[in-house]
């Protein structure tokens, strides 16, 4: 049975300490969440990307945020990582509210995060080796020979040892994602965020990326937050699943709970059924009116 109510318990008032909001201790009996999102609201004009979203992303677990295109999952990820500020609400990471943290404090926390971007976001003017070594060179004073060994180890983990000298443009999409993953884990982060890690990949590359995510979680204990719309691979790797629909969380729970859900929206999303409560068309305007009128309804101009 999926829990449709908010799983987040009521917390005591947060302490405000020198301008930085510090999280209160967890109530007894709850698993410690790595990240706690509370009442997050984000709008772009009239579009509500996050509508009072609250959720817990637990430590050493793989949490997959699922949703269709435009459901607000990437927006939620950008709020959680502090890349964007929400209109209201809080994101607690490792005990600190990222929404009102100073840049310095935020960057300190970011050293514990890694992120795999949808397009890999590799620096196209650097070789694969330099891309992976980049965070080490910027944040540490590790000797070059040690950096070489670390990069080799990370490339071995993603199965791309031997590509050090290549440029990103010489790699396929799947290989670029794996290099992006190697760069994301090079600083040994506590949590890795994955933005659509399997989109646009062939089935084998999808399987490889899925296995890597799971391995990093089970073998290194890295907390993983995956944004995806790939149901099959998500069910394979997830411990917990959150389903978003137009900025609202419509379901959250374990894989089994989601699979056994009786909510029509969840069933439609999981089965990929074209008919159901989640409409294919995005407008409420009448189709007949749209065919019969010569003017654009929003601008009033002739089409």
């Amino acid at each position: 049975m999926v829990l449709f109510v908010n799983l987040t318990p009521r917390y005591e008032q947060m302490h405000i300490c020198r301008g930085i909001i510090v999280d209160t201790p967890e109530p007894v009996g709850y698993l410690c969440p790595m990240i706690r999102v509370e009442n997050l609201v984000k709008t772009y004009g009239r579009i509500v990307a996050c509508n009072n979203v609250s959720c817990r992303l637990e430590e050493k677990k793989v949490t997959v945020i699922l949703g269709g295109s435009g459901s607000g999952k990437s927006t939620l990820l950008r709020q959680v990582t502090g890349l964007e500020k929400p209109d209201s609400g809080s994101v607690f990471f490792d005990g600190m509210d990222l929404t009102c943290a100073t840049k310095k404090a935020l960057y300190e926390k970011r050293k514990k995060m890694g992120m795999l971007f949808q397009g890999s976001a590799l620096f196209n003017y650097l070789t694969i080796f330099e891309n992976i070594a980049f965070p080490l060179r910027e944040h540490t004073k590790i000797a070059d020979n040690v950096i070489k060994n670390i990069v080799t180890m990370k490339l071995e983990m993603v199965g791309l040892r031997g590509t050090e000298h290549l440029m990103p443009s010489q790699l396929s999409g799947g290989m670029m994602k794996r290099v992006g993953l190697a760069r994301a884990i090079v600083m040994d982060p506590k949590v890795i965020f994955y933005d659509e890690p399997t989109s646009g990949l062939d089935p084998i590359s999808t399987g490889v990326i899925g296995k890597l995510i799971k391995d990093l979680n089970t073998k290194l204990g890295i907390t993983s937050v995956v944004v995806s719309h790939d149901i099959a691979s998500s069910f394979k790797i997830a411990d917990n699943i959150i389903i978003l629909y137009y900025g609202d969380i419509i379901a959250q729970g374990t894989v089994a709970q989601i699979q056994n859900s009786t909510d029509e929206r969840v069933v439609q999303f999981v089965t990929g059924a074209p008919e159901g409560p989640i409409s294919f068309t995005r407008t409420d305007a009448s189709y007949i009116d749209a065919l019969l009128t010569d003017n654009d309804k929003t601008t009033g101009k002739m089409l």
Binding site: R78, T81, L83, K103, Y107, E108, R110, K111, M113, G114, M115, F117, Q118, G119, A121, F123, N124, F134, P135, E138, H139, M187, F193
Partner: protein, 257 residues
């Protein structure tokens, strides 16, 4: 109808003021962060190589032919007054005061300015700025500050190179082609060119260097994250920078004279 025009003018004005304000804050942040630790000298040198060293050839060719044309035109004009001896000083003063800084800046705008805007725009499209942020690296400090500093450093050096090559181009045509005495060509030049002329050229090239890198970086950074956005940013960079160079040149000339 009249209200529409007023509304349009108002919207355009507000939009321009916003752009000027945003670009001002952007420049302030880039310059402020350039001097904050850690200072990345390797990034700065790389940008100087890109804006400066790689522009040598285009600046060389432009300067050479500008000097040659100036000598040719100058000779035929001065001959009418029997003042061919002044050719050296005419070429040198034109190049050092005006043509050197302006043409050099326009060439660098076309070569490096557009490339900077495109590079930054593509970095934006491909999420490289958020990637830097996720690695706890300030994108403005890492990407923008070195480019702006490199522009300020490179342009005076390129302009000095332009001046030398331009004067040599004039020498080739004036002395070897048109038969003016070598001593007269350089002698008149030495007496005519003062330190204030060179100083004025350096000031101009410093300002143009800042303008090129500032506008190119800002256009790239504020480009829409689409392919059209990048192409628009590149075009705008060349147009806005070229026009700004000409306008600022007039203002600086009027102040320096």
């Amino acid at each position: 109808m009249n209200l529409d025009i007023v509304a349009f003018i108002g919207r355009t004005t507000v939009s321009w003021i916003q752009i000027v304000g945003r670009s001002g804050v952007f420049l302030f942040l880039a310059v402020f962060q350039a001097f904050q630790r850690p200072v990345r000298m390797s990034r700065l040198l790389k940008e100087i190589e890109f804006i400066g060293s790689k522009s040598f050839l285009i600046v060389f060719v432009t300067a050479l032919f500008t000097g040659m044309v100036l000598a040719l035109q100058g000779y035929h004009t001065l001959t009418q007054f029997g003042a061919q001896a002044l050719l050296g000083s005419a070429v040198a003063l034109s190049i050092i005061r005006e043509l050197g800084p302006v043409l050099c800046a326009l060439m660098v705008t076309g070569r490096a300015g557009s490339a900077i805007a495109a590079e930054i725009g593509i970095m934006k499209i491909t999420d490289q700025f958020p990637a830097l942020e996720m690695m706890a690296i300030e994108p403005v400090k890492y990407v923008i500050s070195p480019k702006i500093l490199a522009g300020i450093i490179s342009l005076p050096l390129l302009t000095a190179f332009f001046d030398v090559v331009g004067i040599l181009g004039g020498y080739l045509v004036g002395v070897h082609l048109l038969g003016i005495n070598e001593g007269v060509y350089f002698g008149k030049m030495i007496t005519a060119v003062t330190f204030a002329d060179i100083y004025g050229g350096v000031i101009k090239s410093l300002c143009f260097g800042l303008l090129i890198s500032w506008i190119a970086c800002f256009m790239g950074f504020s480009a829409r994250p689409t392919t059209e956005g990048v192409s628009e940013a590149t075009t705008r960079t060349v147009v806005v920078t070229s026009l700004s160079i000409l306008v600022v040149d007039y203002i600086l000339t009027s102040l320096l004279l």
